[in-house]
């Protein structure tokens, strides 16, 4: 009956109670769901070979393993498999048992291939037999197609490999094991193989002493390993692979498994009883550590975020219950007058309100479950089962306890009032600015915490509470300032004849709801603004970090150092380099060494991603290729005249010594060749030289050099004329001059070589050498000092802007920092960017360099086109990285999910504030409509009454939203530096905590629209109900 009389209030109270319960229940559910999602994606991202458990068993007696010719067989795979404790096996699928050994083809020369021989249970189902059949008998093997090609083996052939004598003391002859090829296989790439590549080694030379050629892995039948007819093989071991069963492994299992596998590694290593040693490998402990690390973040952030919303809802419920119980004061007075006493009054109120409040618990739990279910499908990845555990029950119990406590406290407040006070229509209330003790304590407490944040006294995820606490302080102080201010303003307006506005302001000042509205709207708006800002700042930073991490929309790694082939392929597909560009990366070992990124600047600046803004295009000009032409020479030999030579070399003892004179040329493969032209014993007017040179496909003349005995000086000059390349097809003259094509050498230790002559057909050099080392004068086309754009610090020992970097040939080159970059995409700090076209001159790319292709778009069609072009050039693609993939990794973290939760909280806070407006109106509508009816009776037009009804609440809402927006902004400024935006901070920081103004404006406008519109609609509804009949006594 009572519910029917005030159904709206009951719905509002139950809704708030449901929200509080939902907040409490959501935290453990969402936290759990996040951890499950994290577990799912961590396992899904991890290759089966890493996530699973692999065991290798050997027998080890007296410190020697079977591999060292101990004649004891290794434990069977079944024995090794049994090492995994029973209680851990549920997490894994059935094990894959196997054996492995090293086989050395006889007679064991370096040209006789050696490699692994394995058996795995069920192996025949995971290879495709190209020819013949899968081995099914002892001594039978299957080999790869590459082995057929490289070693001339075929089906039916027998390979003899070395076994191990069982009794070393009696048998000195190594037993020979015949292996018959029954089939040729092609590996099916699947998780069965635990990442083992059966092929790819055939023909490759293993330089491990003694150097030998390798074959691919051979497959055989189990009997080859454990039959007594076959002698043991070297390095024989049992292998067991336990594939992880993701469906059977929850988050708790992973954490527990991680620890137990660590124990197993230690325990299984040695079995002193029979010498069995089992090596255990699994990446699961690392996955568990990652999950544990991330969940440490979520364990704090999620409850903290939900606690803020829950706290807001509790405060609102408290205020609503105060309003509701205040409205029931006449009823309480009646109960008291009918002799029911305080207890009876309490029972009267609790009998009505507590069931309503507790009625919100079940919908709250359902709301939380529904919310988490939605989050699981729309936000969180993975398909882990929904779990409702003990934490949920505890949270619901806590929510119920809080709801009961809040209701009882609100009821107590009214039921304790003396009857004389209860009988008054309007309860006595302090006028002007008055702060209760409790409010003062809350303001002081919250203010102190905010000050601690601002001064850096507090750290960690608790910073998420800063905006809420700040808003509490601002909201409460503002609420207490608003009513006296409104009263003063209202009176002044009345004096000035602005009756409508004056009455509205006085109405607002008189209403106890005004303070509540200001305080709650401030808090809700602050949370909304902070949430929007935090969400967008987090999103922006993850986007920046992804761009920095990926470097481009799509990055492809290619196999091998054949840059020329790669560039040829790219030219075919994208001649202008607008869509894809080559990048060569050199990462030298050592902590202090600078990495080098060789790029084509004109392409790279358009293709690469530069979070925070691309550098000034003018910067790229500073590493442009010098405007110099190379001196090209083609032929199998060259001829040149050395005229007017006055070169003399004098040893330390004063005796003359011949001077060696030569040219430095670079062939088409980038190899630098030192071509000795001849020795000059002393001054000579004319010397004709003709020497062989490996430049059939063309070379560049990159230097002129002179050398003598160490310590001997060189002085004098010489002129080179008539340089020609000689080949079967004829001669080709080469212009060595004029002098400006050459960069003179001026070294204080070694000496000087200066070019002169204006004639392009000849080159004259003036030489003074101290004999410390060879004197080389370089052609200007060849980079001397490499100009570089550098991010971060120069390496230690650098001189001003001069430093050393690793060039694409793997050698250290002199470099000069010509400009600074904030960051180099997809590169660690302290990376130097150089011009690939420049450093490629005269250099062969080192095998340690990594060639990458950077794509402007993540375009699969283009990728396929490029892959085909590369394939035609004999270049394989080894892997791809996409911007979307990197972004996904950042997005799929507890830090990102927590911030998404913050947005939900901001929206929920606005809904709660709207509820406050509605409840305030619902709990006082009879009085307010009566007041408005009185105005109507006095002749105030309906339109004015409508405006006054709206104006009584709207200014408080606007003040609250504006104050909340400011508090949210300041709170974000305090909190965001401490809020974790990433699971793990990126190596190169792109952190930008600048305010996301779009989010702030949207949230503020959203709050204004939602709450302002709500306030207007409520005001109009009240005005519509303010019929003159309201003046009559109503029930």
């Amino acid at each position: 009956m009572r519910l029917r009389y005030r159904p709206f209030q009951a719905v509002a109270i139950a809704t708030l109670a449901a929200l509080i319960t939902a907040c409490a229940a959501f935290a453990p559910l969402y936290d759990r769901a996040m951890r499950q999602a994290l577990t799912d994606i961590s396992i899904a991202r991890t290759p089966a070979s890493v996530a699973g458990l692999q065991m290798t068993g050997t027998t080890q007696l007296g410190g020697f393993t079977f591999a060292t010719h101990n004649d004891t067989d290794p434990p069977t795979p079944e024995v090794v498999a049994a090492k995994l404790p029973e209680d851990l096996r549920d997490a894994y699928a059935d094990p894959v048992l196997g054996y492995s050994a090293l086989v050395i083809s006889e007679p064991g020369r370096s040209s006789d291939p050696r490699g692994q021989l394995i058996w795995r249970a069920g192996q025949c189902e995971h290879v495709t037999m190209v020819e013949g059949s899968c081995p099914d008998a002892t001594g039978e093997i299957a080999i790869s197609e590459a082995d057929v090609e490289n070693f001339g083996l075929g089906v039916g052939d027998t390979v003899r490999v070395a076994g191990i004598p069982r009794d070393l003391a009696r048998r000195t002859v190594v037993p020979s094991v015949p292996l018959v090829v029954t089939g040729i296989y092609e590996q099916q790439r699947d998780d069965y193989w635990f990442g083992l590549n059966l092929t790819g080694l055939s023909g490759a030379v293993d330089s491990t002493p003694p150097p030998h050629v390798q074959h691919d892995i051979w497959l055989t039948e189990r009997g080859t390993f454990d039959s007594s007819e076959v002698p043991p093989l070297p390095s024989q071991a049992s292998t067991v692979g336990y594939p992880l069963d993701p469906a059977a492994v929850g988050v708790d299992d992973v954490l527990a498994l991680g620890s137990e596998i660590e124990h197993l590694k230690d325990d299984a290593r040695r079995d002193p009883a029979n010498g069995v040693s089992v090596e255990v490998y699994s990446g699961l402990p690392d996955i568990a550590d990652e999950i544990r690390e991330q969940t440490e973040q979520s364990r704090v952030t999620v409850p903290l975020l939900m606690a803020q919303l829950g706290l807001l809802a509790v405060v609102v419920l408290w205020l609503v219950l105060l309003a509701v119980t205040e409205q029931r004061r006449p009823e309480v007075a009646l109960a008291r007058l009918r002799g029911r006493g305080r207890q009876g009054a309490r029972r009267l109120l609790l009998g009505e309100l507590l069931p309503v409040t507790l009625a919100g618990v079940v919908p709250g739990v359902l709301l939380a479950v529904g919310g988490v279910a939605l989050a699981r499908t729309s936000v969180l990845p993975g398909e882990a089962p929904f779990e409702l555990g003990v934490p949920l029950l505890a949270a619901v119990g806590l929510a119920a306890a809080v709801l009961t406590a809040v209701t009882v406290l609100a009821v107590l407040r009214v039921s304790r009032e003396p009857v004389e006070t209860l009988l008054r229509r309007v309860p006595p209330r302090p006028a002007g600015f008055a702060l209760g003790v409790a409010e003062a304590l809350v303001i002081a407490g919250a203010g102190s915490v905010v000050v601690l944040f601002a001064t850096g006294g507090l750290d960690g995820p608790i910073a998420l509470a800063a905006p809420g606490l700040l808003a509490i302080v601002v909201g409460m102080v503002l609420a207490h300032l608003t009513t006296p201010t409104a009263a003063i303003a209202g009176r002044r307006m009345l004096r000035n004849g602005k009756v409508r506005a004056g009455v509205s302001f006085l109405d607002a000042a008189r209403s106890p709801a005004t303070r509540r509205i200001v305080a709650i709207v401030t808090l809700a708006s602050a949370l909304a603004v902070f949430s929007a800002d935090a969400l967008l700042v987090g999103d922006r930073n993850r986007a920046s970090a992804s761009e920095q991490g990926a470097g481009a929309a799509l990055v492809v790694d290619v196999v091998g150092p054949d840059l020329a082939a790669v560039r040829t392929a790219l030219t075919e597909v994208d001649p202008d380099g607008e869509r894809v560009t080559p990048v060569v990366r050199l990462v030298p070992p050592g902590k202090d060494a600078s990495g080098t990124l060789a790029v084509v600047p004109s392409q790279f600046q358009h293709v690469a991603l530069f979070p925070g803004g691309a550098p000034d295009p003018a910067l790229w000009e500073r590493i442009a290729v010098p405007d110099a032409q190379p001196i090209e020479l083609t032929g199998s030999s060259l001829a040149v005249d050395i005229d007017d030579a006055t070169l003399r070399s004098e040893r330390l003892d004063g005796e003359p010594h011949p001077v060696q004179l030569g040219l430095e040329v670079v062939n088409e493969r980038g190899e630098t060749l030192q071509v000795l032209l001849g020795e000059l014993d002393g001054p000579a007017d004319h010397t004709h030289v003709e020497v062989p040179v490996g430049c059939r496909e063309g070379c560049y003349v990159t230097g002129v050099w002179l050398r003598t005995l160490p310590g001997a000086t060189i002085d004098g000059s010489a002129t080179f004329r008539n340089l020609v390349g000689l080949s079967d097809t004829g001669t080709e003259p080469v212009a060595l001059g004029p002098a400006y094509l050459w960069a003179g050498l001026d070294d204080p230790v070694d000496g000087t070589v200066s070019p002169s002559s204006e004639d392009p057909e000849q080159l004259t050099i003036e030489v003074h050498g101290e004999g410390a080392s060879q004197l080389t004068m370089s052609q200007v086309w060849l980079p001397g000092t490499v100009p570089a754009l550098v991010a971060g610090e120069l390496p230690p020992g650098s001189d001003d802007n001069g430093f050393s970097l690793v060039n694409i040939d793997g050698e250290v080159s002199d470099a000069a920092r010509v400009a600074t970059l904030e960051r180099v995409p997809a590169s660690p700090p302290d990376t130097a960017v150089v011009n690939l076209d420049l450093v490629e001159r005269g250099s062969a790319i080192t095998s340690s360099a990594v060639i990458e292709l950077w794509f402007a778009e993540d375009d699969e069609a283009l990728l396929a086109e490029v892959t085909e072009a590369l394939d035609r050039q004999g270049v394989d693609v080894s892997g791809t990285t996409t911007l979307a993939g990197v972004r996904q990794e950042y997005d799929e973290s507890t830090a990102a999910w927590s911030l998404q939760l913050a947005a939900l909280i901001g929206a929920a806070a606005l809904v709660i504030a709207l509820l406050v407006l509605v409840v305030s109106a619902a709990s006082s509508w009879r009085f307010r409509t009566r007041d408005l009816a009185a105005l109507r009776m006095s002749g105030v037009p309906s339109r004015s009454i409508g405006a006054m009804a709206v104006a009584a609440q709207l200014p408080a809402v606007v003040v609250g939203v504006v104050a909340g927006a400011v508090a949210g902004l300041v709170g974000a400024h305090l909190a965001l530096p401490i809020v974790p935006l990433f699971a793990e901070a990126p190596e190169v920081s792109t952190l930008d905590l600048g305010t996301a103004w779009v989010g702030v404006v949207v949230a503020t406008v959203g709050a204004l629209v939602v709450l302002g519109l709500g306030s207007v609609l409520i005001g109009r509804a009240l005005a519509r109900r303010s019929d003159i009949r309201r003046l009559r006594e109503t029930l």
């Binding site: 029917r4 007058l337 029911r340 305080r342 009988l423 029930l1035």
Partner: protein, 296 residues
């Protein structure tokens, strides 16, 4: 409980009206920093089963006196005896028990006496709760409502009742616990004549049939005329009494004699008055002789 048993319970519950007396009753309000004396020494005796009206201009202190009699306020000074309880010294428990069983306060305005979401029946039952708990044998709500002629509307929502019926419902609620003292503040205000008469008749019935002592605050001369005894409160004091249509001045405990209003018009401030005892009455009577001011 059968109707007969209920009626028997009704009679048992109402065998005695409650005696009321106040002595030198003073009550001071504090309003906006100022002290205002609402009552300045009121002596009043109401016999058990008596029905009186408190009259007087607005602000004279009638409602305050009623609230003091109901134990809502504690007097600033003086004594209030209601039944056997001296209210200024009563504990909250005693006051609760008194309100539960012996004293009913009927506030001005029917709605203030009724829980809006209950029917008349439920309101009566609610009002009887504390008394029943205290062991008082009470009639069923239907009988209580029948006593005021509202048995037909016992289960009608309050909002649909006429103002007169609502006031009757409020009276039924006040009488639900068969109190010894009914304190009614303006019970007939805002009612038309028919409804007023019906309410007054119901109060009179309760007074007559149940022996309930009744104190009614009213402005209405018609209501005052209906009551056998009226006490006029003026300036916080008992300013006069009316008995059976005759109006009397009442000498205060400190010897003052407030003049009736119509006498005041004749005896201007400063008028010298002499009392003369007549000899022709064996019990002795006083004649008031006004003389002109000696200063004039």
């Amino acid at each position: 409980m059968t109707t007969q048993a209920s009626r028997q319970a009704s009679r048992q519950a109402s065998t005695h009206g409650t005696r009321v007396s106040t002595r030198r009753l003073v009550h001071i309000y504090r309003s906006e920093g100022h002290e205002v004396a609402a009552l300045s020494g009121v002596d009043l005796d109401v016999a058990p089963g008596e029905m009186i009206g408190l009259l007087g201009p607005s602000g004279a202190g009638k409602s305050t006196l009623l609230s003091l009699l109901a134990g809502v306020f504690k007097p600033s000074a003086g004594k209030v005896h209601v039944g056997g309880i001296e209210l200024s010294a009563a504990t909250p428990r005693q006051l609760d028990e008194m309100r539960a069983k012996d004293v009913a306060l009927m506030l001005q305005g029917a709605s203030r006496n009724l829980l809006p979401y209950y029917t008349p029946y439920e309101n009566v039952r609610f009002a009887q709760g504390a008394a029943r708990k205290a062991g008082k044998d009470l009639p069923e709500p239907e009988e209580v409502l029948a006593g005021v002629g509202l048995d037909v509307d016992a289960h009608t929502p309050l909002a649909t009742l006429t103002p007169g019926h609502r006031q009757l419902a409020a009276l039924a609620v006040a009488m639900a616990s068969r109190p010894g003292l009914l304190l009614a503040d303006e019970p007939t205000s805002q009612l038309d004549h028919a409804a007023r008469d019906r309410v007054l008749a119901s109060i009179a019935d309760a007074n007559r049939e149940l022996g309930t002592t009744v104190v009614i605050v009213t402005h209405d001369p018609d209501v005052a005329a209906f009551l056998p005894r009226t006490v006029t409160i003026r300036d916080g004091r008992v300013g006069g009494e009316g008995r059976s249509g005759e109006e009397y001045a009442v000498v205060t405990p400190d010897g003052f004699l407030p003049l009736p209003l119509h006498v005041r018009e004749d005896l201007l401030p400063g008028t010298l008055v002499r009392f003369h005892r007549t000899e022709d009455d064996a019990e002795g009577s006083y004649v008031l002789i006004a003389e002109e001011n000696v200063d004039e």
